[in-house]
Amino acid sequence: MTIVLRNVFTKSLRDARRGLIGWGISIVVLVLLEAALWPSVRNMAELQQFLENYPEALRKLFNLDQFATGTGFMNAELYSLLLPILFLVYAIGRGARAIAGEEETGTLDVLLVTRVSPVSLIVQQAAALAVAVAALGTVLFAAVMTWSPVFDLGIGVADAAGGSLALVLLGIEYGWLALAFGAAAGRRAAAVSVAAALAIAAYVLYAAGALVDAIEPWQPLSPFHQAIDGGPLGAGLPAGYAWMAVGAVVFVLAALPVFNRRDIAAR
């Protein structure tokens, strides 16, 4: 008996393995390319002056004042937008497929007519998603730790770990949101749309907070702000991380009673 088909959790991780390999390779390559740019950027003669010519808003948004350090460079180039997008796309896609996807393809019926209850199904799928996103975060951590000394970026272990943690939590929050909405509504495309729309809204709030003084007090409500404010490389362990975890759990808890009581659509 193979262990991978023992329960929904292990089966879900098994299904994730191929995608994880592809995404992992992409991240390793991305970090490599970006890190390889660092020596030439650092040696730019008028880097500081060049950066000061950027509009203040952009300097704030991408934390460009730190751009002259390896950590700040990676924050601005990868951790402020590109990596969050990658983690969100991966997590939202998986989350939407976890239950709504199975319902739409028709495999959910037989799955539920076993000992597996709707609640246990959500919990197992949510756990598998968290593990998959964490695996992606670990790959990112390993890539940064590998390329940092090679290209002299000077990123410490704790900084790299904190950066990965921020993205993993952001990914899990929106992945679980997609999973929860998919479980409640039974439609995969709608789950993707809702989660993506809320992620964009969070980014807009974060960006607007950086640009408009009147919005700034609301900025901490944005998971983007919680994830990448002041870092995430070198930000330590801000309290905002806990809010992402709380948000993720709230989404899943809200979906449990709905999925537990609703009709399962026939194919």
């Binding site: 088909l5 929904v8 028709g106 495999t107 037989v110 007519v113 000992r115 399962i264 194919r267």
Partner: protein, 295 residues
């Protein structure tokens, strides 16, 4: 004896549109129950209600004495279920898929799947995505049966099966009955239900219009008989026999349509020296048509 499947006033509406209306149904243990009706009559809705995948909007359903809403998990653990559109994971082999479901169910005899697959002539080492429709359906039948459930709930189980496999499937169903288990299967094809069912329920536009034993239905049914006489045909005498609905003389033969028993007819006809009798067993098709023919 207590019913294995019992519904009272069971109904289901989708956004106010009724799909199933006020169904009272009792299926005793050890019975093969054929659930008949044309597509869209509410068969799948009933089956999904029984399997706990839908919640009734009216009335209630019990399986093995357990309410399908309040004791859903207990019901789902005890039944075998084949959905009308069975879909399995295309990237798994038949063997992997059944192993997965066996793990989710727990306590399944590991050799049961292989044994059933062999009987149905199904190659479990093939990936489900590359299987023909018929072979996928066989995987569905195996997963419904391999844990020897007390109740089998099967939605159009023979769809896509070739006749030889159909026969083997019917043998499986009969064995389940012999083991004291109850089988509830839906179909819109009457001959296959007739071949195996003890009782049938006939569903029409969301309403259960008839529940009857197959034997009784057949007894009520119109029988067609051809009598060939050695001498002259006693057409007028035969016409007076009770139960004779139609009579068509044809040379030395007479074609009759009789309702119910043929005992009296044969008693009357015997003295006129019958050289041959051909009877045509009534099939549910004709019985069925009388229900739907009423408009």
């Amino acid at each position: 004896m207590k019913s294995v499947i019992s519904t009272s006033g069971l109904g289901k509406s989708y956004r106010g549109r009724p799909a199933l209306i006020d169904v009272f149904l009792e299926v005793p243990p050890g019975v093969i129950f054929g659930y008949l009706g044309p597509n869209g009559a509410g068969k799948t809705t009933t089956i999904r209600l029984l399997a706990g995948l839908l919640r009734p909007t009216a009335g209630r359903a019990e399986v093995l004495g357990l309410d399908t809403v309040r004791n859903r998990e207990a019901v789902q653990e005890r039944i075998g279920y084949l959905p009308g559109e069975f879909v399995a994971y295309p990237d798994l082999t038949g063997e992997q898929y059944l192993e997965y479901l066996a793990n989710l169910r727990g306590g399944v005899d590991p050799s049961a799947a292989a044994r059933l697959a062999k009987r149905l002539d199904l190659d479990l080492s093939q990936r489900i995505g590359t299987m023909s429709h018929g072979n996928r359906q066989k995987v569905g039948i195996v997963q419904a049966c391999f844990h020897h459930p007390q109740v089998l709930i099967l939605d159009e189980p023979t769809a896509g099966l070739d006749p030889l496999v159909q026969r083997e499937f019917l043998a499986l169903v009969r064995e389940a009955r012999q083991a004291g288990h109850t089988v509830f299967l839906s179909s819109h094809i009457l001959s296959e239900v007739e071949a195996v069912a003890d009782m049938v329920g006939i569903l029409r536009q969301g309403r259960l219009v008839e529940v009857q034993s197959v034997a009784k239905l057949k007894a009520q049914a119109l029988r067609r008989i051809d009598l060939t006489f050695e001498g002259p045909t006693p057409v007028e005498r035969l016409r007076q026999v009770t139960g004779v609905r139609e009579i068509h003389p044809n040379g030395s033969a007479v074609h009759l349509v009789v309702e119910g028993s043929t005992a009296e007819l044969l008693e009357v006809a015997a003295p006129y020296r019958i050289s041959s009798i051909t009877t045509h067993e009534p099939d549910l098709e004709e019985i069925f048509l009388t229900y739907y023919g009423q408009g």
